[in-house]
């Protein structure tokens, strides 16, 4: 990017001043909700705790200045967000940096912008992500980048990177985008996957890419138990997320329906690092 195109973002800093007794639903903590508002207006945005609604101002001090649009608004959150849900959910642009661990739904349904969590995230984070970059420096819980419970529309775009481990049911119903877990994952990863790319740099437990229709899964470590619906088809030299190595290539899931493209059935691909 040329210097002339670098826009200076306005930054709003939230500092936690009170820990919620239950969990605080921070559906309004994202650049889209903050854009064009003064700190006072932001402090008055609603936040549910259980069935009761209060304001962001009751739990955070709000300082700084928001941009006119989401794209030039950056939010920095300091303090303990362990009981805060929905931070950065549905964001379309701009930037959010959380210097803490967050609860569920962080970065879910985001379609643009950058979200960085410097701690861990709980389950259901990055659900049905459509675009943007979401990075977790710690670990993630279950249902990372998956479809919402019951839904069949999972992650479809963007880059979701977890530097630690992730739990079970990661990337269920994924159709696009890229999900990288630098540590290990538990059972059920890429179930019903129909596009996109998953990279696991550690080990995967069991049921990797079960009922996969389309897409790519790379596992650098070991798979505890391989799904029976995958067929070994050969070996190949690849560069995956900066790592050059030889991979064994599998195709599957043979037990699932497969669409055809120009008369040829399309299968998913599973690559195991040698």
């Amino acid at each position: 990017m040329r210097p002339s195109e670098v826009k200076k973002m306005n930054t709003i800093t939230l500092t936690v001043k009170k820990t919620p007794e239950l969990f605080l639903e921070c559906e309004h903590v994202n650049p889209d909700a903050f854009a064009g508002k003064t700190p006072d207006q932001i402090a008055k945005l609603g936040a549910y705790q259980g069935k009761e609604i209060s304001t962001l101002g009751e739990y955070f001090t709000v300082a700084g200045e928001a941009g006119a649009t989401a794209a030039d608004t950056k939010i920095v959150i300091n303090g303990d967000c362990t009981k805060m849900k929905y931070i950065g959910a549905k964001m379309t642009a701009g930037e959010v940096v959380v210097n803490s661990t967050c609860d569920m739904y962080t970065g879910s349904w985001m379609s643009g912008g950058k979200l960085l969590v410097k701690g861990n995230v709980h389950s259901f984070c990055g659900l049905a992500m459509k675009g943007g970059e979401f990075t977790v420096e710690g670990n993630a819980g279950n249902y990372l980048g998956a479809a919402y419970r019951g839904d069949w529309r999972g992650m479809s775009g963007g880059i979701l990177r977890v530097k630690g481990n992730a739990g079970s049911d990661v990337a269920t119903f994924m159709t696009g985008g890229e999900l990288i877990v630098e540590g290990n994952v538990d059972i059920h990863i890429g179930t019903h996957m129909e596009g996109g790319r998953i990279v696991v740099k550690g080990n995967a437990n069991r049921r990797v890419a079960g009922q996969m229709v389309k897409g790519e899964v790379y596992v650098f470590g070991a798979i505890n138990v391989m799904m029976p619906g995958f067929k070994k088809i050969g070996e190949t030299e690849l560069e995956v997320d900066g790592t050059k190595a030889r991979f064994t290539e599998y195709t599957g899931d043979m037990g699932e329906r497969h669409p055809t493209r120009k008369g040829v059935p399309v299968y998913g691909r599973l690559y195991m690092k040698n």
Partner: protein, 568 residues
């Protein structure tokens, strides 16, 4: 109870033939009266439209299949989990709303009654639990009979009297309202992995045809003289070319006269006709058959219909037509729910997205609008979305906007991605008719009330009738011209009276009213044969004891029982 006088509104009431004249409506003790005292509370309805409360004749709003839809589609309500200010509870769900949201939303649109269209007798308790929890609106439920083993056996031998006695017994056990028939024979055939796609396809094992079931149920219904007629979901729903089976089914009512004390004139109600009015042989050459079907319906005075309008939304299909749901699942690969209800029926559920970029769905949308636009008698054609199958009932205001404004529907039609194909396969582009407020009052109030046998007390504003009254922010002299304006006016009543009590004000629920469960108690001669058969089937086949079958009083504590004497 307090007295009210609704002043200066434009009144639309087909019962009295009032077409928008300014007229005051007086309310006292839950009834509409000639006049009230000077102390009556005045409701100013100047420049507003006044109609009776609307009646929903066909929707899936309570019971095990609706609830299965709720639990297997958490994604339908994920973003609706917050409590808003006021006396209402959390309102969750779009295509399969919670019972609370169901009651509130109907009331906000000016409805005061809804018919649950398919009650599996075995799970009638569940249906009544949900009805009881649905606020404000009165409700009733139609037990399903078209695939019931008793019915199949009696009608095989043309035993109308036994069929009627069994129906009367079921209505009492389940607190049911009338006779529903879904894919006659086809749902039973589904238990054998088969279906009945014409009225001549034999039902496996029972060796009876859908035609015999339909005709027999119509006759048994008239034998009993029930307030509502037989209520039919024909065979071969949703397939190109099915209009022939639809006409064959409707023709079975020819020559049968209504016999009842409720002023009902039809012997057959054909539901969600949109899904049954398709020409062509496949989805490629699919065309509207609405004209053919409605030409026939217009001639036959003993038929009523409802539309089943596709609203082009993401929704949840659910029906006792088990094989159809399996067929849908094969088309869209989305999650499929299927259940068999022992000797009685079955059900299936599949989420469905009527995507407006797909020509087939847009054609279905057009067919749904053609049906009421072809209807010559608005007292025999009612607006439904077969909620939630063709779309959520909360879309009624939008459906009205398409029917009442050619401009609004043509804008949508011409804007479709595949507009040329849709216009070529349907007749909608050439139709200029716009449904008037008076016709709408017939299609949504007076008509359904009459078809349900409730015309004495509901669907009109004549003195003596129940004070269920909807006042809309619509000035008939300055009818709104854009779709969103029409929608908003019908989505949020200015005021809704239910049983003479204000339940909604400015679109906001202010009172939960006193909802009632309607059911029909039909008295028949003692029938030892049928009672013996019931005992035997419970012993041999049912998973529960006969004594655990009836719906106890406590499940419908606020009941409105309509008594019918069919003893001879």
């Amino acid at each position: 109870m307090s007295e009210f006088i609704i002043k200066n509104g434009h009144v639309f009431d087909p019962v009295q033939g009032i077409k928008g004249d300014k007229k005051d409506i007086a309310v006292k003790d839950g009834k509409i009266v000639d006049k009230v005292g000077s102390g009556a509370k005045v409701i100013d309805a100047k420049d507003k439209t006044v109609m009776a409360g609307a009646l929903e004749i066909h929707a899936h709003v309570a019971g095990p299949k609706v609830n299965a839809g709720r639990w297997y589609r958490p994604e339908d309500k994920h973003f609706d989990s917050h409590k808003t200010a006021g006396i209402t509870r959390i309102e969750g769900g779009k295509s399969i709303p919670t019972v609370f949201k169901t009651g509130y939303e109907y009331a906000r649109m000016g409805f005061t009654f809804a018919m649950e269209a398919a009650m599996p007798p075995l799970y009638a308790r569940h249906v009544h639990e949900e009805i009881h929890d649905t606020p404000i609106i009165d409700e009733a439920a139609l037990p399903v009979f078209g695939n019931n083993w008793f019915i199949l056996e009696y009608l095989k031998n043309q035993e109308i009297e036994n069929t009627a006695a069994y129906i009367a017994w079921i209505l009492r056990q389940t607190k049911g309202y009338g006779v529903k028939c879904v894919n006659p024979g086809g749902t039973e055939a589904w238990a054998w992995g088969l279906n009945c796609l014409t009225i001549h396809d034999p039902v496996p094992y029972f060796d009876i045809t859908p035609g015999e079931i339909i005709k027999g149920l119509i006759e048994a219904n008239e034998y009993l003289g029930l307030p509502h007629s037989m209520h039919l979901h024909q065979n071969d729903l949703g397939n190109p070319g099915n209009y022939k089976t639809t006409l064959d089914s409707l023709k079975l009512a020819e020559g049968i006269k209504p016999k009842n004390n409720f002023g009902r004139e039809q012997v057959l109600h054909s539901t969600h006709l949109q899904f049954h009015s398709y020409k062509g042989t496949n989805w490629g050459d699919f065309e509207s058959g609405a004209k053919e079907v409605m030409d026939y319906v217009n001639r036959q005075k003993n038929l009523t219909i409802d539309t089943g309008n596709v609203t082009l939304d993401e929704t949840t299909t659910m029906t006792a037509d088990g094989p159809f749901e399996h067929h849908l699942h094969g088309l869209n690969h989305l999650k499929w729910f299927n259940v068999d209800v022992e000797l009685e029926t079955a059900a299936g559920i599949v989420p469905f997205i009527y995507d407006p970029s797909n020509a087939v769905f847009c054609c279905q949308w057009a067919v749904g609008l053609e049906i009421p636009l072809y209807a010559k008698d608005p007292m025999r054609c009612f607006i439904t979305t077969d909620h939630p199958n063709a779309g959520p009932f909360t879309r009624y205001p939008r459906v009205y906007s398409w029917l009442m404004s050619k401009k609004v529907r043509d804008e949508l039609l011409n804007g479709f991605k595949k507009a040329d194909k849709v216009i070529g396969a349907t007749n909608l582009a050439n139709m200029d008719r716009e449904i008037t407020l008076y016709e709408l009052a017939a299609m949504t109030r007076a008509g359904p009330a009459k078809a349900l046998g409730l015309a004495k007390d509901y669907g009109g504003l004549a003195p003596g009738m129940n004070a269920d009254i909807a006042i809309y922010n619509i000035n008939p002299d300055k009818f709104p011209s854009t779709g969103p304006e029409i929608e908003k006016a019908f989505a949020q009543v200015a005021c809704l009276f239910k049983d003479g009590k204000i339940c909604v004000e400015d679109g906001k629920v202010v009172d939960m009213g006193h909802k009632k469960t309607f059911w029909v108690d039909a008295k028949v001669n003692e029938n030892k044969q049928v009672m013996h058969d019931i005992k035997e089937k419970f012993l041999r086949y049912y998973s529960i004891n006969e004594n655990n079958y009836p719906v106890p009083e406590s499940y419908a504590p606020h009941q409105h029982i309509i008594a019918v004497d069919a003893t001879q």
